[in-house]
Symmetry: C2
Subunit: 472 residues, 2 copies
């Protein structure tokens, strides 16, 4: 495999196939998510879904096909999505009277339904979420990061006023930050997008941005305050306590299969994937050592050990492939990012131990079979924490508070620059043309800082420094 340091992009493109996470779909830009990749997605989903429900949201399902006219009702929305749409023109053997859009996102159809379901202030807030596939035609597809079809959840909520809607927008953002940190071990920065990077139809867009090991930023989840734009386009109105008819304020927010790309590029190395234990399909793989008769002797105790680990809630797996050598298996499980490998041979067994190797560790440590479940539970917790710490250190080492344009241009070659900006779209364009860097966000927890734009020297528009970086 191409080493990360030599060509990060080639490393990524080779790894996603070699680790059997994905395959190419028959249509350009589409992705087959193979069982190993899909299991990671399921584990991520479970963590997101639990948090979504705990915060009072309910799941629902809305149709895939949306009448073309719906998208036109919100002018910015249709303008933003028009180039990416897939259109059904024929169905049931006939040409349709009105073409149907394969949903690129569901604001419009959910807006139409909210208008039907909401009549009183008692119906608010309405807190919906959907797990679904969406289609956005991609000119430069890349597995997980930009695919013509992807999987996601999309939250859609309606509120009595701006205050409540903004509270929700930030709650979703916070949920994404905690998912990224606690599940994916990605130390994301949460902040607001500048006007040029807003979602089509949104009044405010917030984002969590992760730093990949090549120093680039990955937008990992976004949360939007729509104001009354969609409420007006779809007539989502309610009778207030005062008796007045008012427009609802809506939000939407989404996290996608793109997160798997984030996990790969935040933690992976030249040997392959490095999976946070919370997301690892197999947290511990046991490799029986020995050939022929020996292998037969070692297998039952290996299965027994796996059973004891499983009863502790650990996803343990015994590699029973008899036609492969232990060395091949070691490399294979390293490639697939398994956090802990255990070797169990006749001599280990005689001594009542197993040899433990950590995916990012050096050498092998004997662990007593009796204490293995407790020991491995602790090791997995420590491994998860270590990954977050390591990624945080990496991010901090590659983030520079810059004082000049020269420093800025240098910093964004290998990481992020914290810099004041004038807020002019033309100046953002200019920075992008010169350095490929864009404003990733106005960080929510950035300290107040006055100053002049790093590029054009007009006064800073945001009262704090922005995060700039090259992005995926």
């Amino acid at each position: 495999m191409t080493p990360q340091s030599e060509d990060f992009s080639a490393w990524y493109n080779e790894l996603v196939f070699k680790a059997e996470l994905v395959d190419r779909g028959p249509v350009r830009g589409t992705m087959v998510i193979r069982p190993y990749g899909y299991r990671i997605w399921e584990l991520l989903q479970a963590g997101i879904d639990r948090r979504i429900k705990e915060t009072g949201h309910v799941n629902a399902y809305f149709p895939l096909l949306i009448p073309e006219s719906y998208l036109r009702r919100e002018a910015e929305h249709v303008e933003g999505f028009a180039p990416e749409l897939a259109v059904v023109t024929h169905a049931g053997g006939k040409e349709l009277e009105e073409p149907l859009i394969v949903r690129p996102t569901s604001e419009t159809v959910i807006g139409e339904m909210m208008a039907k379901w909401i009549s009183s202030h008692r119906d608010l807030p309405m807190l919906l979420n959907q797990w679904a596939n969406v289609v956005r035609w991609e000119m430069r597809p890349r597995m997980f990061l930009r695919t013509t079809e992807f999987l996601w959840q999309e939250g859609h909520t309606a509120h009595v006023d701006e205050d409540d809607a903004i509270r929700e927008t930030l709650l979703a953002l916070d949920l994404y930050a905690s998912v990224a940190r606690e599940i994916a071990a990605m130390p994301v920065v949460a902040g607001e997008k500048t006007a040029g990077e807003r979602f089509p139809g949104a009044r405010r867009t917030f984002t969590v941005e992760g730093m990949m090991r090549d120093g680039r930023a990955l937008q990992s989840g976004t949360s939007h305050y729509m104001g009354t734009n969609f409420a007006k386009a779809f007539n989502i109105q309610y009778t207030a306590e005062s008796g007045e008819l008012e427009y609802a304020h809506t939000t939407s927010w989404g996290m996608t299969t793109r997160m798997l790309g984030g996990v790969i590029m935040t933690h992976g190395d030249d040997k392959g994937l490095v999976l946070p234990p919370v997301l690892a399909p197999y947290q511990v793989v046991i490799v029986p050592i020995g050939r022929g008769d020996q292998a037969g002797q070692v297998l039952p105790p290996a299965q027994e050990l796996a059973g004891r680990l499983q009863r502790k809630g650990i996803r343990a797996h015994v590699d029973t492939r008899t036609h492969l050598s232990p060395g091949f298996k070691f490399n294979d499980w390293e490639l697939r990012g398994v956090p802990v490998r255990l070797e169990l041979g006749p001599r280990d067994l005689a001594g009542g131990t197993t040899l433990m190797s950590l995916r990012l560790g050096q050498g092998k440590t004997p662990v007593s079979l009796d204490s293995a479940p407790a020991r491995l539970e602790a090791e997995l917790g420590a491994f998860q924490d270590m990954l977050l710490r390591r990624a945080t250190d990496f991010r901090d080492e590659h983030t520079n508070t810059v004082g000049s344009w020269g420093e800025f241009a240098e910093a964004v070659k290998t990481g992020w620059a914290l810099a004041p900006h004038c807020g002019q779209p033309s100046c953002e364009d200019d920075i992008k043309a010169e350095t490929s860097a864009t404003p990733r966000c106005i960080p929510l927890d950035g300290p107040p800082a006055e100053g002049r734009c790093i590029r054009c020297e007009l006064p800073s528009a945001y009262g704090k420094r922005l995060v700039f970086g090259r992005a995926y």
Copy 2:
């Protein structure tokens, strides 16, 4: 609401909307699954998914859009699906070179991938499953039962030979029977379809059939043995231990959101839904009794009781809506099929009890607050068992072993007929034209029985009686 006995179909069509299970989508034949309906689906999914994983299958995800040419590779398959396809002709602002089909099922794209992934007998069996949406254009749509888009799981497996593939086909069928019985309390009959009712491209099709309260049959899950039809169309070959190149034998099997229609029509009554506890979003609803100050006093103990039930694993909910009367709430939760309702007023509280009503019971029973969690756990288990028993009795009372064509014609007006058949498609057509009844299945556990066709008096072709009935 229209009573069941007066017009079953009108009852169903009103109930699905009144109970807020669904709404109409903007495109004809599409369905919005509202939160209350979607939660039932999630609970059903969890039960299916657990059984799928326990039997060694792994989930994956394949693209929504399939090149039109793929469908043409298996002649029966394309012929069967052609009238129901939705076709994407434009995407990314351009007309596509080859039209894309929105998947009606994924045999073709999964066949293409299996051909890539399978090379040796060691790769078999390959046991895949996918949770997905599919689109089949419907001329006579009906909520849950026939919608233009529906949600399902589709299992797709590949095997070394016919024996192993048939074993899998029957394993999936058995899985569906246990899901129907244990989760949905539907006493389905498992059997094989006659040739005329096979899946397009299958060599053998098996089904589980439930009886609805109007005596009609609902096909509730199907499992297909494809022989080598798809393996030959997509070139799914493996090297056998002998070194020979062989075609794999494949299967596919699916269960869908249609099951929710089955639950409604198996258990519901004139008051509304009756939900099996395993599928009930709320298993127990607590209605605080009293207005004004009293309501305020009762609410904290109601919440405390709900908390104790939840810690026991019971999905308990407190109805906190202060603007609605208790009587309105009682009707509302009956309509929504909640198995157990608890009333809690100041007098109950003073006596340390709560008043319990079962969804199909008579009157109210006082239950001590202290013992409520254990008591309700037992009541819910008993309610689940009772529903299955009740539905089994209903099915048996409405199933007749018939000895003449007159008895047959009479039996299928209100239920099922068990009858010998000649196996001629033209005779099946004739029976359907006369009575609207079709052969639902050749029951796996039907006792051997010779005899002459109930319609045309040619010798029986199956060695046992078939289940005939009118179907959804």
